[in-house]
């Protein structure tokens, strides 16, 4: 089973110190625990959907995993290789090799393409950097990449501004796939796109995954698209994972109160449905000052005394992990890990 694990994240933390603005000296007045100890595994060829609202730490997690910012603590493994160790070393070649195996598609296709480069140059750039293919083949491979994402060879000579949002995102995907990465992080890849175009891009991503066996980390706040894309789902709240389950299980029987609220919050395009909605009181607290005990307790209707002082650990209920002291099926508060 462990040979199947492509990505393993263990207790990943990333904290940001908040410094006071002074003239002579600046001291730390607080700390933002953006990502505060998250762990998960993604099997080869599968997709983990990482869900959460703004400030939950999902984008920070992505940036740390890719070595774009250093971690505060924790480890990331790509197969057996210790990713964060490589990124923090001075070994340029090892870093470059690793980068070719882990790529990223950003949210905003309008900001992530160099406006002064043609599509051809944009897609050739990874070849030039990684040189994993013979120079004579660069152009051919670039055109192949365009084909995979449903663009035509004539598009290669155009500039990004000549394309629509959806097409630009295809270019970004082609660029990310040019080096045939094993792992692709998709950070809200369709949020900036029109609704009628989203399905095109998501369907394309799934087709590519089926064809190339790429492993995805799909980050989004849109649960409906997460459902469509993911095999497993992890929900983040204020820097922690509160629930992790298989996609079907998650939507049919979510256990954590926050997950339940998230699912019920989504408006359904069915006028006959009664919303029966869970409305969470208040707002997401600041990561600068998270609540004591369970970070969700101030907004949780099921909070009891222990929730206010102790932080629940993520416990395995049988391929379904939940961090909550209240659970209708199992009394987790008596679980040895939660003593």
């Amino acid at each position: 089973m462990s040979e199947n694990r492509l990505i393993e994240v263990r207790n990943l933390k990333r904290h940001f110190p908040v410094l006071e603005r002074g003239v002579l000296k600046r001291r730390q007045v607080g700390i933002i625990r953006a990502c505060d100890g998250i762990s998960f595994t993604i099997l080869e060829g599968e997709t983990l959907g990482l869900v959460g609202e703004s400030g939950c730490g999902k984008t920070t997690a992505a940036r740390v995993i890719l070595g774009l910012i250093p971690p505060t603590a924790g480890e990331v493994f790509l197969r057996k290789q210790n990713v964060l160790e490589v990124f923090s070393s001075k070994d340029k070649e090892a870093i470059l090799n690793l980068r070719a195996r882990m790529q990223l598609v950003f949210q905003n296709p309008y900001a992530s393409l160099n406006p002064r480069m043609t599509v051809h140059d944009i897609i050739m750039e990874p070849f030039r950097i990684h040189r994993h293919v013979l120079k004579e083949e660069y152009s051919d491979q670039a055109l192949k990449a365009l084909e995979v994402v449903g663009l035509e060879p004539e598009h290669a000579e155009r500039y990004p501004h000549e394309f629509s949002g959806g097409q630009r995102q295809r270019i970004c995907i082609a660029r990310a796939l040019a080096v045939r990465p094993e792992f692709l992080i998709l950070d809200e890849p369709v949020s900036s796109l029109d609704v009628s175009v989203r399905a095109q891009i998501l369907t394309l991503l799934r087709e590519i995954q089926a064809m190339m066996g790429t492993t995805y980390l799909y980050i989004s706040h849109d649960l409906a698209s997460v459902k469509f894309m993911s095999d497993f789902i992890a929900v983040m709240y204020l820097g922690k994972i509160v629930e992790l389950a298989e996609q079907e299980t998650f939507f049919s029987s979510p256990i954590h109160p926050y997950s339940q609220a998230l699912i019920s919050a989504i408006p359904r395009p069915n006028p006959r449905l009664e919303p029966g909605r869970i409305i969470l009181p208040g707002e997401v607290p600041s990561a600068l000052n998270p609540p004591e005990g369970c970070r969700f307790h101030p907004r949780c209707i099921r909070a009891k005394t222990v929730c206010k002082t102790k932080e629940p650990q993520l416990i395995d209920l049988g391929n379904h992990w939940v961090a909550c002291f209240r659970n209708d099926e199992v009394d987790i508060s008596t679980h040895p890990e939660n003593q």
Binding site: R198, K227, L262, P267, R268, P269, P271, L273, I279, V284
Partner: protein
Amino acid sequence: MRLLEVKDLATYFSTEAGTVKAVDGVGFDVGEGEVVGLVGESGSGKTVTALSILRVVPRPGMICRGKALFKGTDLLRKSEREIQSFRGKHVAMIFQDPTTSLNPTLTCGEQVAEVVRTHKKMGKSKAVERVVEIFQSVGLPDAALVFHKYPHQLSGGMRQRVAIARALCSDPELVLADEPTTNLDVTTQAQVLELMKELKKKLNMSILLITHDMGIVAEMCSRVVVLYAGRVCEIGDVMSVFESPLHPYTEALLYAVPSLDARKPRVIPGSIPDMLNPPSGCRFHPRCVYAKHRCTDEVPQLKEVEPRRFVACLKH
């Protein structure tokens, strides 16, 4: 007589690159106490329609033809001076981004009080009382404290509540809400939608709810107007439109969105047209699975195929 009747509205933008016919013959109506959804994607003309009704279309946009009858009075024929007594008073607007629609140099209380005093002719202290009252009714915690806060000191959800308070403080009969929850987190969106439902019930307001989210339409609206590339595709009550969409774009839109309950989304080929050079005839024809030859030449007119059920498609 309906509260709002828009007839053949056309607003064009003349740019160096050409004329963008952002709204090109749009007509619909909103009744008293009704929530009507105005649905479309980018380039559909939904925001420009709302801005046209309020006569706040930015340059180089110009309203070229049409009528916007509010209780029988054509807002498009009023002078700038006359329109000011409607704007904010009888017809108010909530914009998509509360960060840019609130004045960053005034406290939340001050800017809403400004609106109250302009339209209600109240003294300063009375206005302050009224503002605190409204802040409470939109669910702002510690309303008296929020009064003295600047917009940047509040979260997105709270800012949007202030924007809603500002829109409602003069008791308008009609509220134009342009994607009021799009920029908010899902759980905050749920709160704001519930708030809007409560307020609508309490105040019997009419709302023109502009959105691209069919889920919000299904939940909030009784009728829906579907726009595509500056024109109306379909109008009808929400139940009928969702259960048996008549226009191919409406149908495609309903099936294209990944939803929690549904099966796999159905991809719509192509993309939204370039509004500088929209397709001839029916603007949706390049992406339409039912398109025939005539769709390239003829512009389909909006026809009433059943009572209060309209569609602009050569299939009907």
